[in-house]
């Protein structure tokens, strides 16, 4: 019994001593910090993802409090709501930014892109692509081993086992940019989510000449330039045999989608067009214009049914 008592007393005394030391030290070496930093940090999501460009939420809060304006400070995870709260806490103004989303610019699914070999090593895009050009004949395309999936802190990106291409869950994606940095092929880009999540994007990064691209993938961009000619807003540029749509200029007219000979341009979340003549013939269930992720192939098939 005495041993138990002795132990308890000993530990209590040690605990008390240490508590006193900690108290004295914290008083003596107290660092004056702007109390607003703590307030701002509490408003942030606390994911410490680094998507804002700072090392973490605390660094962001510190910088936001210390700098004269909130320019250059934007929390992609919290979005405009969080930024509005931060601005009101600091008595400053913040510009509303459009919602961004990560877009995988490759549509080289198993059907579109035949495999020429199999990679047997460690299943990582970075490892595979440091050794050679990948499992298919396209050396710019997605390797499909999911380096982007690994880095996503929000469970927003997954490789579809049917296609071998990562799919982004728009609701979960916070546009933190972790996957953009992780992709060794630079396939992922942060693009404006667009009105009703509708957007048009060139789903290809192949910079080879047209003939080589054609051999490698059915839906590769061959750099023919038809889309750039047809675009009424000058949003499309052709560089290195590759078209790129500037999402700030694109007005979603979809002319380029119809013009593209290979189907490399993808229009996402548009209601599927149902021709008027067909409306009367088909049953009402099938023609309900549900917003759906439509790949160019599905659209082409739809058009051919007309």
């Amino acid at each position: 019994m005495s041993i138990v008592l002795f132990t308890i007393i000993c530990l209590s005394v040690i605990g008390l001593l240490l508590a006193i030391i900690l108290y004295v030290v914290s008083k003596k070496f107290h660092v004056e910090e702007d109390p607003r930093i703590e307030i701002v940090e509490a408003l942030l999501p606390g994911a410490n993802c680094g998507g804002c460009g700072f090392t973490g939420c605390h660094a962001f809060a510190q910088s936001a409090v210390e700098s004269p304006s909130l320019d250059g400070h934007f929390c992609p995870v919290g979005g405009n709501d969080t930024m509005a709260k931060v601005a009101s806490a600091l008595g400053q103004e913040v510009k509303v930014q459009q919602k961004m989303v990560a877009v995988v610019r490759c549509n080289g699914t198993f059907d579109n892109r035949e495999k020429s070999n199999y990679f047997d090593g460690y299943k990582s895009c970075k490892v595979a692509l440091s050794l050679y050009a990948g499992e298919t004949n396209c050396r710019y395309g997605c390797a499909g081993f999911g380096d982007c999936v690994e880095v996503c802190a929000f469970d927003a990106i997954h490789v579809d086992p049917k296609t071998g291409i990562p799919e982004v869950d728009q609701d979960k994606c916070t546009a933190c940019g972790a996957c953009v940095k992780a992709c060794p092929q630079s396939l992922i880009e942060l693009r404006a989510a667009g009105p009703k999540n509708r957007r048009v994007c060139v789903s290809c990064r192949n910079m080879d000449k047209g003939a080589l691209t054609r051999k490698a993938c059915k839906v590769g961009c061959i750099g023919c330039g038809k889309c750039a000619k047809v675009c009424p807003f000058g949003a499309i540029k052709i560089e290195n045999n590759l078209a790129y749509i500037d999402f700030n200029l694109c007005k979603l007219c979809k002319k380029c989608v119809d013009e593209c000979p290979t189907g490399a341009i993808e229009a996402v979340n548009f209601p599927i067009k149902v021709p008027k003549s067909a409306t009367t013939l088909e049953t009402p269930q099938t023609q309900a214009p549900q917003p759906k992720v439509a790949t160019p192939i599905e659209q082409k098939e739809n058009n051919s049914k007309e």
């Binding site: 020429s116 070999n117 047997d120 090593g121 460690y122 990582s124 970075k126 490892v127 440091s130 050794l131 050679y132 050009a133 990948g134 004949n137 050396r139 080879d208």
Partner: protein, 444 residues
């Protein structure tokens, strides 16, 4: 006691199936595809255009930098294309395609089998000629030889080591040339001694090549300046740093080069190429390639013209073997997987190996059991399991402290791991990242 290096090493089954197959001259086919990236460093710039007629030995590519080299036509005929084509890894590299017409050589090339023993040229002339003949290190790294034979100012070479270790399983190209052209190798070695301005050298050969050792010792009696040293069989003895330690007992410092300990290492194949370039005016247009693997019936040692494609070799041995699952250019330990069989043979290609699915299949990765076998196996004295762990956590500063940059990518750790952890795959990636970070630092 036979000499060897002291830290690490593994003993894979050597599988030298083709050791007794003499080198056969492979027939010249209708077309060759000569890559401009035959060497380490910047790819050569093509200097021929479509429609040009070339003879064997004509320059078709000129160096595009200090570490680069000349490329010569390996056949005679008409250039049909100068365009980027896929190399064995599927990456685009400039190629010159030549349609073969006859076999016409440049007139100054001496094609007789007479051995020319007198070395007439001076040191500078030798270096110049080696450069113009497009000679690169044939041990695998294809580093331009003239650069290696010109030590940087302030550093002095003491020994030359001719590397005949050939520790890679399956490969027998060096073994065969040592048996068949031993005297030429010694003369090539003498030329390199003259170019370096030194008197002494060694030839290191592993004990499993008995016939080559006997032949080299016999011929070596006439060349006392180059001593034949028999080495214990251990992979990666053919690694530059390991070979230097085995023969001289000197250890190349971390981040250092062999010249820092006064040694220059050259492959025996390079010595032969140097002999042919200096004494016979013949640029490097041929390469001895071991075509091997258990799944093929005709394992052979072939003397090929540079630019012959792997698919042409496959056609000659009767198409793609049934069980073949993986093609490798080089040995099974450090060779490169061939993902595109239309790629062509380079100057430094030593073997074309075909493995079955059973031989190549990787087993499922399980947890590290801390058995420390990888530490025992690493010839550079690193701790692969730790490098793997730190790499997965992307702790590059700690990796630098653990000297990841010393890794020679020999694959001993991966070979020995009982848990099938892809150690080398992961280490290689972070090694590249760490060296990139180190290079980007401002120099003091």
């Amino acid at each position: 006691m036979l000499k060897t290096f002291h830290i690490g090493g593994v003993h894979p089954n050597d599988n030298k199936i083709t050791a007794d197959a003499p080198i056969e001259v492979f027939p010249i086919l209708d077309k060759v595809y000569i890559s401009m990236a035959q060497h380490l460093g910047a790819p050569a710039t093509p200097v021929v255009a479509k429609g040009d007629k070339v003879k064997v030995g004509d320059v078709i590519g000129e160096p595009a930098g200090f570490i680069s080299g000349y490329v010569h036509a390996s056949v005679s005929g008409t250039v049909t294309a100068v365009e980027p084509m896929k190399d064995l890894a599927g990456k685009l590299v400039m190629h010159v395609v030549i349609a073969v017409e006859g076999d016409e050589w440049r007139p100054e090339i001496d094609r007789s089998s007479d051995i020319v023993r007198d070395i007439k040229l001076s040191k500078e002339e030798i270096l110049d000629k080696i450069k113009l003949s497009g000679i690169v290190g044939l041990g695998g790294a294809t580093f331009p030889t003239h650069v290696k034979l010109s030590p940087p100012p302030g550093k002095k070479a003491e020994f030359l080591i001719l590397n005949g270790a050939e520790c890679e399983p399956y490969v027998t190209a060096d073994d065969r040339i040592m048996r068949e052209q031993s005297e030429q190798i010694f003369i090539g070695g003498k030329i390199m001694l003259k170019a370096l301005g030194i008197e002494r050298g060694f030839v290191g050969i592993e004990e499993n090549k008995k016939a080559a050792i006997a032949q080299m010792k016999e011929t070596g009696k006439k060349y006392p300046e180059l001593e034949v040293i028999i080495l214990k069989k251990k992979y990666p003895q053919g690694g530059e740093k390991q070979l230097i330690e085995a023969i001289t007992g000197r250890r190349v410092p971390s981040l250092g080069l062999p010249i820092d300990v006064g040694v220059v290492v050259q492959n025996v194949g390079t010595a032969l190429a140097v002999y042919e370039a200096i004494q016979k005016n013949k640029p490097l247009v041929e390469s001895v390639v071991t075509v091997t693997g258990q799944c093929i019936s005709q394992q052979r040692n072939l003397s090929l013209r540079v630019g012959t494609s792997f698919s042409q070799i496959l056609d000659a041995i009767g198409g793609i073997p049934k069980d073949a699952a993986k093609f490798i250019s080089g040995g099974p330990m450090m060779g490169k997987a061939v993902s595109n069989i239309d790629a062509s043979v380079l100057k430094g290609t030593s073997a074309f190996l075909m493995l079955t699915e059973e031989q190549t299949k990787r087993k499922e990765e399980i947890n590290c059991v801390r058995c420390a076998k990888c530490i025992e196996a690493c010839p550079m004295g690193l701790e692969p399991w730790l490098l793997n762990k730190l790499s997965r956590a992307r702790r590059y500063d700690d990796l630098e402290k653990e000297k990841i940059y010393d890794c020679i990518e020999c694959g001993c750790c991966l070979y020995t791991c009982p848990s099938n952890i892809p150690l080398l795959d992961i280490i290689r990636i972070s090694k590249a990242e760490v060296t990139r970070i180190m290079r980007s630092r401002p120099k003091k």
